[in-house]
């Protein structure tokens, strides 16, 4: 009898030994396999165990990153964990997690995703940061440093010290040093804390302010005074950069207005044609970008660059057709032109609805255009906006060059200034009209490609920009390209400096009122055309 009782604990001991070995001695395989059928709560524990056991294993970072990017799947037939390498439509290209063996292409329905949620992702991201701060490549280390700086806790210091010893990259070093200072402000005492409080004055981040505010709320009078001083420094710096940020936002909005209005400043400003279909020509440009991405799904990175000339041609051809078949017959009858082009705009919208569906379409953002350029912790500029500003300015100067320095530009100006005289000089005015209108329309198409990165690509895209475009041209002075440029930038800056204090809705109202008042004072806009022909 006693032997029977003794045997049970022996059994349990053996069993648990077996279990322990299966977790520790056994491979990565069974440990990762647990991820397949577990709740997110269980997954958090698994992730924590994994990162303890396999801290130095490169496969772990790979696995975690796949989880973060929703690229970790499992085969429904035998629960094999796989990474998703590529998918086209329903075909999945995968390789196994454990043996890195590339599997044959299989249908989407053969796989299920290993599900994650915000909580789990944030745990994983912290673990990944801890792992890759030491082992990762430069970009991974930078991301890790940023993430750690955002989630500082007293234990972070060991990791940061370890990384500081090895790190060479200046950006990463400065983030780590700042984090170290913040930790010292929060948790150190005596001289170290004092020095840290003073040194933190050079930082610009919100986290530094918070750490200092904690000190300010403390009881030590000397430290409080120091902290107060540092906070004042930081806030001063942040205010300065917030003005730069606002100016950048204004520039960005201005450059979008410039792109949208540039074509109009040629058709309306130079040719005096009120083209209500201008917005729809912009829309056609955006749809061209969408179509190019659909036709060449493998060239997403270059699709926008390809779209620019294509959209110019597509919208330009539509513009020439509109000019030849409708507007040509209506020169010097502005009211009829307005109505006719408004009709054309409705037709173009409906064509797009019928061809592409009334739903909005997705124009993907290429990798090189997404993300932000971080100048410092108080100022970061989004790449897409930055590129659009540069692009708008390039387009502007190209148009300026074409109109001012080429023989085509000379003829355009001659025809618009004095049609009968130009005709008498042997200029084919009809051809010049068509080309000029095509140029203006083509520019609208180019604007559409840029806008596809910022807003909805749908049949109503153009309507949102037509009023703004006219506003810019009228405000800047009809017939003056520089006027359009300055007008667009002024309206952009005005919007962005007003918005934070009075809100988005009131800003729109205020800007409109200001422009109306301005036009009352100067009916010909900022830069009125001078000379005899301008008086008519």
């Amino acid at each position: 009898m006693p032997s029977y009782f003794q045997r049970i604990p022996m059994k349990i001991l053996l069993l648990s030994l077996l279990l322990i070995t299966s977790i520790f001695a056994n491979d990565f395989e069974s440990a990762t396999h647990a991820l397949v059928h577990s709740s997110t709560k269980e997954k958090i524990t698994i992730v924590e165990q994994l990162s303890e056991t396999y801290a130095n294993d490169n496969r772990l970072i790979l696995l975690f990153n796949a989880l973060l990017d929703s690229k970790l799947f499992y085969k429904t037939s035998d629960d094999t964990l796989v990474y998703l390498l590529k998918k086209d439509d329903d075909n999945y290209y995968t390789k196994t997690v454990l043996s890195s063996q590339v599997l044959e292409v299989m249908n989407k329905s053969d796989f299920k995703k290993v599900k994650t949620n915000n909580k789990l992702r944030s745990v994983i991201r912290n673990k990944v940061s801890e792992l890759s701060l030491i082992l990762g490549d430069e970009t991974a280390r930078l991301d890790a440093a940023k993430n750690i700086a955002n989630h500082l806790n007293p234990d972070s210091i060991t990791l940061i010290d370890k990384a500081l010893l090895k790190e060479k990259n200046a950006d990463i070093l400065s983030i780590l040093q700042e984090s170290k200072l913040i930790l010292s402000v929060k948790y150190a005492t005596g001289k170290v804390q004092e020095d840290a409080i003073v040194a933190l004055a050079d930082s610009l981040s919100q986290t530094s302010i918070q750490a200092l505010q904690e000190v300010q709320n403390g009881s030590d009078e000397k430290l409080k005074a120091l902290a107060k001083q540092s906070i004042a420094y930081i806030k001063e710096g942040r205010t300065f950069y917030s003005y730069i940020e606002k100016a950048f936002f204004g520039l960005s909005l201005g450059s979008i207005l410039l792109l949208a209005a540039l074509g109009l400043s040629i058709t309306f400003g130079v040719m005096k044609v009120i083209n209500m279909a201008h917005g729809e020509l912009i829309m056609l440009g955006a749809y061209t970008a969408f179509t190019i991405q659909q036709l060449f799904p493998t060239l997403i990175e270059y699709s926008l660059l390809i779209s620019i000339p294509v959209a110019f041609i597509v919208s330009g051809i539509f513009g020439i057709l509109i000019e030849r078949f409708v507007i040509r017959h209506l020169y010097s009858r502005p009211l009829e032109t307005l109505l006719a082009t408004f009709g054309i705009s409705l037709i173009l919208q409906q064509i797009v609805r019928s061809v592409y569906s009334p739903l909005n379409q997705v124009v993907k953002t290429p990798q090189w255009m997404s993300g932000t350029l971080e100048i410092n912790s108080a100022l970061s500029l989004t790449y897409s906006r930055l590129y659009i500003i540069i692009f708008a300015i390039m387009v502007f100067f190209t148009v300026l060059f074409v109109l001012k320095k080429t023989s085509l530009g000379l003829k355009v100006r001659a025809v618009t200034q004095n049609r009968p005289m130009a005709q008498a000089m042997g200029i084919r005015t009809g051809l010049i009209d068509a080309i000029t209108f095509g140029l203006g329309s083509g520019l609208a198409g180019v604007a559409g490609v840029a806008l596809s990165q910022l807003t909805n690509v749908g049949p109503n895209l153009g309507q949102a920009y037509i009023v703004d475009s006219f506003m810019v041209v009228v405000f800047g002075g009809v017939g003056n390209l520089w006027g359009t440029f300055i007008g667009a930038m002024t309206i952009g800056e005005l919007n962005k400096f007003l918005e934070p204090s009075v809100g988005a809705i009131l800003t729109k109202v205020l800007v409109l009122v200001m422009i109306i008042l301005f036009i009352q004072k100067k009916p010909r806009g900022l830069f009125p055309q001078k000379g005899r022909d301008a008086q008519d």
Binding site: Q210, L454, N456, P500
Partner: protein, 425 residues
């Protein structure tokens, strides 16, 4: 020879009888959804849903032995036109029931007409509450079935301490945000921890607003954005969030107007993990849902077509109406309305929807995280919650109740003064 002749004759007679019955005696179902204009994108789907349900019901033999006949009209996203079309449905077409409206302003526009002519309207979209009409059944969520549980979830599960209430400038976001602000402050959130922001319809430049949200959210307390931003403006908003590097893990955005259909027009990769609160998601696992999705895809002949929450509300409303007519044995509006209260029907998330005396439904609240394929992963689900017509968190309405059953029969009964503030039925 003789018998076959008689058989043939009787079959012919039967056929003729049934045909004539079908032509003369049908139950007319009005469908009042915009098929053109800005709301067409969302509302066309609901029109198709009603038509699909009618077709299915007719295949089952119709209702009370009669066939259902849809009468589809197009109010063209034009709010006054909604009222006109409703009037013609009730007076000219003499429909027995109408399924319709999407925006609150269209509902407010048809309300006087439906009440005047004693019609019957099923309204299938989540709305701001503060309304209860004898002639309307609200099958979408009221604020306590969407907004408040969503905020509760963030408060408890994500320990959010700071709130941005961002919305489009019209009645639904304004009322919802007013309720939410009162609710948050009753839970001890300081006013300085709440930021309210309104933008016009179709806002496309979100740079400064998103940058403000980012600054507001980096003050050391966990921050979330509660978004009642409507329609088109969502795409540039989410794009800007992605561009400025706001991850769902840092500042989650919970939306009340973004569903599967809206996500179909967005590149969802940067949205991973942002949230939405609804009473139904296509990803809900239940037998009726699988069947419904299959039926919908077969009906629209599109194997990738998505379903959404207002579709479920339409589905529930239609089924309840069928049950009520069967129970009352007639399509008489007063009798159907009376029979309706207390009826139960399965919803698509595996539970039951019950019609309450205040003409609202019991609904479970689901919180979903956006996945990279445009579907929602359900991360939280409550039991069925009773729809509340009058919010308990607004000073003007917290004492009001609505009960259209026998002794009370009142849509806005003040429990303090014991008076019915509106018309009694």
């Amino acid at each position: 020879m003789n018998t076959t002749f008689v058989k043939k004759l009787s079959i012919a007679a039967l056929l003729a009888a049934s045909l004539s019955a079908q032509a003369a005696d049908t139950i007319k179902v009005g469908v009042l959804h915009s098929l053109s204009g800005t709301m067409a994108i969302s509302e066309t789907t609901l029109k198709d849903t009603v038509l699909m349900m009618i077709e299915a019901q007719n295949k089952k033999g119709g209702l009370l032995g009669k066939k259902l006949e849809p009468v589809v009209v197009d109010p063209a996203s034009n709010w006054p036109l909604f009222a006109e079309k409703m009037r013609s449905l009730l007076t000219k077409e003499k429909v027995d029931v109408t399924f319709g409206c999407w925006t609150s302003v269209s509902r407010k526009s048809v309300l006087p007409v439906v009440e005047e002519l004693n019609g019957l309207l099923f309204y299938p979209v989540q709305y701001e509450g503060e309304e209860s009409s004898y002639n309307v059944f609200y099958t979408g969520a009221s604020p306590n079935q969407q907004a408040i549980p969503a905020v509760d979830y963030l408060m408890k599960e994500a320990s959010v301490k700071r709130w941005v209430l961002a919305g489009t400038d019209y009645v639904y976001p304004r009322t919802t945000n007013k309720i939410l602000k009162a609710y948050l402050m009753s839970k001890g959130v300081a006013e300085s921890d709440i930021m309210v922001n309104y933008t016009p319809f179709g806002q496309s430049d979100w740079q400064s607003i998103v940058s403000e949200i980012k600054k507001f959210g980096s003050a050391g307390k966990k921050t979330a954005v509660v978004s009642t931003i409507n329609g088109d403006a969502n795409v540039p908003f989410y794009k800007e969030l992605g561009n400025q590097g706001i991850h769902a893990e840092d500042i989650p955005v919970i939306a009340f107007s973004v569903g599967e259909e809206e996500l179909a027009g967005i590149d969802t990769e940067p949205l991973l993990g942002h949230l939405a609160a609804w009473n139904y998601f296509q990803s809900a696992e239940s037998k009726p849902n699988t069947a419904f999705i299959k039926e919908w895809r077969a009906y629209t002949k599109n194997p990738k077509r998505v379903t959404n929450d207002p579709m479920e509300a339409t589905y529930i409303g239609f089924n309840l109406w069928v049950k009520a007519v069967e129970k009352a044995g007639t399509t008489n509006v007063d009798k159907v309305i009376d029979a309706m209260v207390g009826l139960k029907t399965p919803n698509l998330t595996g539970g039951t929807a019950e019609m309450l005396p205040n003409h609202h439904l019991t609904k479970p609240v689901l919180i979903g995280e956006i996945q990279e394929d445009g579907q929602f992963e359900i991360v939280y689900q409550t039991k069925e919650v009773d729809g509340d017509a009058w919010s308990d968190f607004l000073p003007g309405s917290k004492d009001l109740i609505s009960n259209w059953k026998a002794p009370l029969k009142c849509g806005n009964y003040d429990t303090k003064t014991k008076q019915c503030l509106g018309d009694k039925k």
